[in-house]
Amino acid sequence: MAFVLMEKVMTLDQLPAARTASILDIASCPLAERLACMGLAPGEAVRVIRKLPWGGPIECEVIGYRLALRRSEAALVTVSTDAAA
């Protein structure tokens, strides 16, 4: 390959605003099924719209709509960014 993909794996709460990433995995927990049902499922793209100050909720765009969730909930979602995205 002529160019290197800068892939980075992190959790959704660490993803900076305005960045898009694809979801790799959801930590197994009672909330997992609910998160998946709301669109936070492996393979989907997610974009952070804004982060509310003082550790407030994160607004993100997933499967074509806007979802607000707490940072502790976002920490359950593993995402990967790459330079090509």
Binding site: E33, C37, R50, R66, L69, R70, E73
Partner: protein
Amino acid sequence: VNAVRRIAFVGNPNAGKSALINLLAGSALKTGNWPGVTVDKAEAEITHEGMRLRLTDLPGIYDLQPSKTDERIAVGSLLSEPPDLIVNVVDLTNLRRHLNLTLELTGLGRPLLVVLNFGDEAARHGMSVDTDALAHRLGVPVLTTTAVRPDSRTALLDALTRDIAVPGGQPALAAGERRTQVRQIYADCVRQATTKTAAPRDRADRWLLHPILGPVALLAALYLVFKLTFDLSGPLIDWSEGFVTDYLGGMLLSLVGVLHPPGWVVSLLADGVIAGVGLVVSFVPLLALLYLCIAVLEQSGYMARAAVLLDRLMQRVGLNGKAFIPMLLGFGCNVPAVYALRALDSDADRRATAAVLPFMSCGARLPIYMLFTTVFFERHQAGVILGLYLAGVAVALGWSLILMRRRPPGGDSALLLELPPYRNPFRPFLWRTVWWRVRGFLSGAGGVIALCMILIWTLTNLPYGAAPARTLLGGTAHAAAPVFRPLGLGDDWRPVAAVVPGFVAKEVVVGALGQLYAPAAADAAEPAEDLLRQTAAQSAGLIAAIGDAARAPFAGWVPGVFRTEPADDGIAAGVRSAFTPLTALVFMTFNLLLMPCVATMGALAQEFGRRFMLVTLGRTLITAYAAAAALYQIGRLLGY
């Protein structure tokens, strides 16, 4: 004659189900719930082209694995009484998430009709759907509507009366496979124009969710809600109570007067029944306006933003951002607020909020403040009343903090909240939401209040003709007086007697004071005056009240209901002689924090069990007593 066709409306929250069913059924819609957010099922029966249709509006669900109360109601109803037809309402602008439920519904083995709502909005966003392809892929008929357009009504009704086959050939899928299939269907059936211009929502949210301007905007919105509610309702409160007690009551008394009833019957009618009904009616303007403001904020989509803005702050004291709406509703009446808690995601959050909800000063406590502040704090009326409201909120948050510390850490509290695009509230649905909530108050708390007024009358008048101090209430108050001495209220039996009804319903306290200090007021009704002139006077009064209400918002910065005319002379004089400014403040604080009224206790017991209700009751009793005693003792030390 055809049998009734039972049709269940199912869909994700915010799909516009309630607005759609409201469009179909209009006033036929019967509901025992507190919608805006639908938290219980609502039903309507209509006839279209000779076919009887029974429409059921179910609370919003994301899938068929319910995780909270309102979802359990929806899924339970769907599985235990399978309807003849399921109408799946889908927000076209948010098709991918909604299709997940649609696919799950195709596996239920019932006829299914998919209704794509918000078609116009999707088109504006450059989104086009091949409905034929979608219908083919899903194996069910698909219809596009816009709930706010009347012409979609007939098309939808026609579809509801048609015979629809059970979708076949859809194997039950695991959640993961279902998502894959949704992705494929979406890719095949939807064309999205690639022009990505900033949506109006982004322009609005840049300010409304701004780190600094967002909270400022929220405070401004709250100020506006209370300003409008109090300013506009103030003049109407005065008028509506007078209309019932003087006009309707006067008519009733003169009609009854023909029969020459004994004195106690007239007294029971005037001071018990009519005064009770008048009291209930007098809350309606305030509640209607507050609920109208809240419904506009809810249906426009702003409330979701408010919940997001407040979540961090409320989490610090053990509450959820979503609890903001029920707590705001609590300023009207605590009863619908308790039911509104069903929309919260976790049981832990619901209980945490319910435990402190009674400290939100409901509309019923306002007349107590108004009476005492007009007599004792005429110059600082607005300040004192505002202080009481804030004190209630502070006590609620304080208790929540204490309760949070005692809860095991972790818990299942969650905030997963869709932020819908901003939408114009659908006017007919807006009015209906307000009416439902007001009616909820009338049938829930209202009946209790009217009954309590009769009970209080009995207590203050039996044995009939006895001196007030020797009546049942007087005797009880004398016996209970020592308990209230640390509060500075035990010296005279009457303030104690006025507290007693507060245990049943706050709204009765002022009425009880009236009966205690001005028992002669019943004679004031003048049945002799002719009906025509009275009607004219009432109409003029209403016009004047509306005029006052229209001017009030521009009169100043301070909400206007706080500036009331001097209360009824009899009560005012009685209160002036029995209370000091300090004991008046103590009395108001005590009533602010004192146990929820009977109707609220009933709602708490129904939603959370009797034990929870009793614990909450005990907490409020202790809080009210301790706060009132502390206030009195500190006040005395300071020399008041």
